[in-house]
């Protein structure tokens, strides 16, 4: 017989155990952690501090031992700028995607749980919003409030929540009819309890995956906006700015700025996408073994 401190295996513990067995997901996880550490070092001024030092004598130098990814127009070290760009990307990814997930989850939960008029209103609202091309919305928002990191996060957050909202809404519609929710109702549980204690934890794995996908697309949005000149303020190191600069540089044979920014972005996005697959496999109840 079991002892009195017999601990159960929660579905989350199960998922973590599964991810630990998934080598690709594990490597991706450590790559993401690597980026976070890099960003933390950069932001706290412990590494790649020379990203702002200009030296017109060494303008557009090709990659060398002194400058692994060469230098830009102002003679700044491209590697340092790309590394510092990580900070911008992670901030935008985290806060942009975070904001959109919070808005999307909240509205989706309300719409899916209550149905009826509330659902119709919310559905109408996001359908309307969704009919406006996403990039146009982003551009419009950035124009109105001027460039800057804060605006960028807000713009991405406020315009990209529709997907999360749809996902959470459909999951809530599915879950609210389940017997465990009905049982909670029969027990006298309030709406808030049914939404936040019963249904939400059962949709959280989807929200997590959705967040991780949103993270990737927020990073991409930052790059696009910066390319259009609507991103971060000039001077702030960002991959988008570097790629934007490359449109003139490439014709002069200067490829390293573009290469550095793209490589940094490529590995981060790849790691996120693969890790995301790992979470999905680990939390999908249909793939759960007994």
């Amino acid at each position: 017989m079991t002892t009195s401190d017999d601990r159960g295996r929660s579905l989350w513990a199960d998922a973590i155990r599964k991810i630990k067995h998934n080598r690709v997901a594990l490597v991706s996880f450590w790559v993401i952690i690597g980026y976070l550490v890099l960003a933390a070092l950069c932001a706290s001024g412990l590494a790649f501090t020379g990203y702002g030092i200009t030296n017109n004598d060494i303008s557009y130098q090709a990659p060398s031992w002194a400058h692994w990814f060469g230098t830009d127009l102002f003679g700044r070290d491209v590697l340092a700028r790309a590394a510092q760009g990580t900070v911008t990307s992670l901030i935008v990814g985290f806060f942009g995607a975070g904001l959109s997930v919070v808005i999307g989850t909240l509205l989706g939960a309300l719409a899916g749980y209550f149905g009826g008029l509330i659902d119709e209103l919310i559905t109408w609202f996001y359908s309307t919003l969704d009919n406006i091309p996403y990039i146009l919305l982003l551009v419009a928002f950035s124009f109105v409030s001027g460039p800057g990191l804060k605006t960028l996060c807000l713009a991405i957050g406020l315009t990209s929540w529709v997907g999360h909202c749809r996902l959470v809404r459909s999951e809530f519609i599915k879950q609210r009819g389940q017997e465990y929710v009905q049982g909670a109702f029969a027990m006298g549980a309030s709406h808030a309890r049914r939404i936040f204690i019963h249904i939400l934890p059962n949709t959280l794995h989807l929200v997590l995956i959705s967040f991780s996908l949103g993270f990737v697309s927020a990073i991409k949005s930052e790059v696009i906006l910066s390319y259009l000149g609507l991103g971060v303020e000039p001077g702030t190191p960002s991959w988008g700015m570097m790629i934007s600069d490359a449109k003139l540089e490439l014709s002069r044979g200067v490829w390293w700025g573009l290469a550095a920014a793209t490589l940094f972005m490529f590995f981060l996005v790849l790691a996120f996408t693969l890790f995301n697959d790992g979470i999905r496999d680990a939390t999908d109840p249909k793939l759960r073994d007994k």
Binding site: G8, M187, G188
Partner: protein
């Protein structure tokens, strides 16, 4: 022996690889399927019966499954050694299969005609025209009315019973030598079940094919099978002719299975369970006489007591079609003018087939669904008139236990949290430790070890989960519980245990039940009074014995005659 058997299974073992260990699903089993006979393969979920049939079809998913030893001789040739392309010529043509769930086993985007023709064109090399004509003939044979029209229907345009008939038509389209029927009637109502069983028996005689009929319910196969093979935990514990098995079962498990099924002719106090006959390891118990005596003793229906729940003219109508301006044009009358009384400390059984409104009635009583019209009086208080806060307080007295023990517990909550939640809501117990104590007592009361409180629902079996659901319903110390098909998803042996538990609790705590079920035998066993529902109305109500002995309404008579007798005809006098 071997000359007239179609399939000989010899020393078959199948293993499944999981993360932690390998599980032996089938352990070294051997049995024959004779030509032109029906073999019933009986066992509870997880006993390996479906795995054995999948092995015959060569459909064991690999990985994680693997046939580790044995052979399956089909006319002397080992099917396990056949290549995939050779097996494909056997499947559907020589050996075909019908499944449990007629709702999902047909492809929704093709007409039933297209789906029947598919295998005819593939295996019999018929032209489209010939196949179509043959398909109409097949639909006619399986008893679909107006087959030349119905052949153009899509699966969603047919009822569950009709879909199962279409599945059978597909399965017999190429005159197979063996038909494997995997729980083909479990998802169907009793009256439909009877028709399907008769159809399979007729077709079996007509085509002279062999049938392997898989089921968890011995009663179902009593009439149609010639031989019975009983499986328990991957082993065959008994195989014999049907008559012998029913007349004098040799293995304690078979004895238990036969005894634990509620019987329409008796009204006992307790049901014997498999665990009265054997230990989980399979050792015979020389049974406790008192249990069997209790099982034989007729339950006395006590004196009529005061009414606890009085329902008058209750209606629940769902809007079906909305007009152009939003006005509702037609209604589904799920509950249509129902008047019922449930007496304190008694059980009212509510029977009827799917779609008759019994579940809606149950949920309307608890106001999980708001009634359209009518009155529900509980202890003299009109429940329909209560405001939100009073209703929440009222929920403490009225609880519900659902059908599906897999869906009715929140998968991300420990059992302890699930049991304590209602106490928190209704402010029972002053501290967490007191509530933990109460939960431990509840676990004990429903026959589970209190140490399991920290576990999650997926770590329990179906029967254990249903016990947990009962414990949760009891957590608020209710007076009245609605059991909505609470034992329908369970194996017969587990079903008996849960029914006994419900009766014990009723005795101990003076509970009042409304027991909703489609299974008349179960309802008869547990109820004091029975109400029969049909099309949203209660067509007949009487005490449990009376309704079975003197049914008045046509529908009640039809329902009663459809129940499998649970005995081969030759053994019934």
């Amino acid at each position: 022996m071997s000359t007239d058997s179609l399939i000989q299974i010899k020393n078959l073992s199948v293993e499944f690889q999981t993360d932690e260990a390998s599980v032996k699903a089938v352990k070294n089993i051997s049995f024959d399927i004779p030509k032109g006979k029906t073999v019933g393969l009986v066992g509870e979920s997880g006993s390996g019966k479906s795995v054995s049939s999948l092995a015959i079809m060569g459909l064991i998913p690999n990985p994680p499954g693997e046939v580790t030893s044995g052979e399956i001789l089909f006319e002397g040739k080992d099917l396990l050694k056949f290549s995939e392309s050779k097996m494909r010529k056997i499947r559907g043509k020589r050996i075909s299969m019908i499944f449990q769930e007629p709702m999902t086993s047909l492809n929704p985007v093709f007409t039933v005609g297209d789906q029947i023709c598919e295998s005819l064109i593939l295996h019999e090399k018929m032209s489209k025209q010939e196949a179509w004509e043959k398909a109409i003939d097949l639909l006619d044979q399986v008893g679909i009315p107006n087959p030349s029209e119905r052949i153009k229907s899509y699966p969603h345009e047919m009822s569950g019973g009709q879909r199962q008939r279409v599945m059978i038509a597909m399965a017999i389209s190429c005159n197979p030598d063996l038909l494997i029927a995997d729980e083909p009637t479990t998802a169907l109502d009793v009256t439909i079940q009877k028709q399907i069983l008769e159809l399979i028996a007729d077709l079996q005689k007509k085509y002279g094919m062999s049938v392997l009929f898989i089921t968890h319910d011995l009663g179902v196969i009593a009439d149609i099978s010639d031989e019975v093979v009983v499986m328990y935990r991957g082993d065959i514990v008994e195989k014999n002719s049907t008559e012998e098995v029913f007349k004098k079962p040799s293995h304690p498990y078979t004895k238990g299975l036969l005894a634990c099924r509620p019987n329409l002719d008796e009204h006992p106090r307790r049901l014997p369970t498999v665990s009265d006959f054997m230990t989980p390891e399979g050792k015979e118990i020389h049974h406790d006489e008192s249990v069997l005596r209790a099982a034989k003793e007729t339950r006395v229906i006590g004196e009529a007591q005061i009414p606890l729940l009085e329902i008058t003219n209750l209606k629940k109508h769902f809007p079906l079609k909305k007009g152009f301006f939003g006005g509702v044009q037609s209604w589904v009358k799920a509950v249509d003018d129902v008047t019922l009384t449930v007496r304190k400390g008694r059980t009212l059984g509510l029977v009827g087939e799917s779609g008759c409104g019994k579940t809606t009635l149950g949920r309307t009583i608890l106001r999980l669904i708001e009634p359209t019209e009518g009155q529900i009086k509980y202890n003299g208080i009109d429940v329909t008139a209560l405001n939100k806060n009073d209703m929440r307080a009222m929920r403490r007295k009225m609880q519900i236990i659902f059908q599906d023990p897999y869906a009715s517990l929140n998968p991300r909550m420990t059992i302890g949290a699930a049991l304590m939640e209602p106490m928190v809501i209704h402010k029972l117990g002053s501290s967490k430790s007191e509530r933990l104590d109460m939960s431990a007592k509840l676990m004990d009361r429903v026959g589970l070890h209190p140490s399991m409180l920290n576990r999650y629902p997926h770590e329990f079996s179906g029967g254990q989960r249903q016990r947990i659901c009962i414990a949760r319903a009891l957590a608020v110390e209710p007076e009245f519980i609605i059991c909505d098909e609470s034992v329908s998803a369970l194996d017969v042996s587990i079903q008996a245990q849960i029914l006994n538990l419900l009766l014990d609790l009723q005795e101990e705590l003076n509970l009042t039940y409304v027991f909703i079920s489609h299974d008349l035998a179960v309802v008869k066993f547990i109820s004091d009074e029975v109400a029969v529902m049909y099309n949203g109305k209660v067509v007949e109500m009487n005490d449990a014995v009376g309704i079975y002995e003197r049914p008045q309404h046509e529908y009640t008579k039809k329902l009663l005659s459809a129940i499998p007798k649970g005995m081969p005809k030759s053994l019934i006098l």
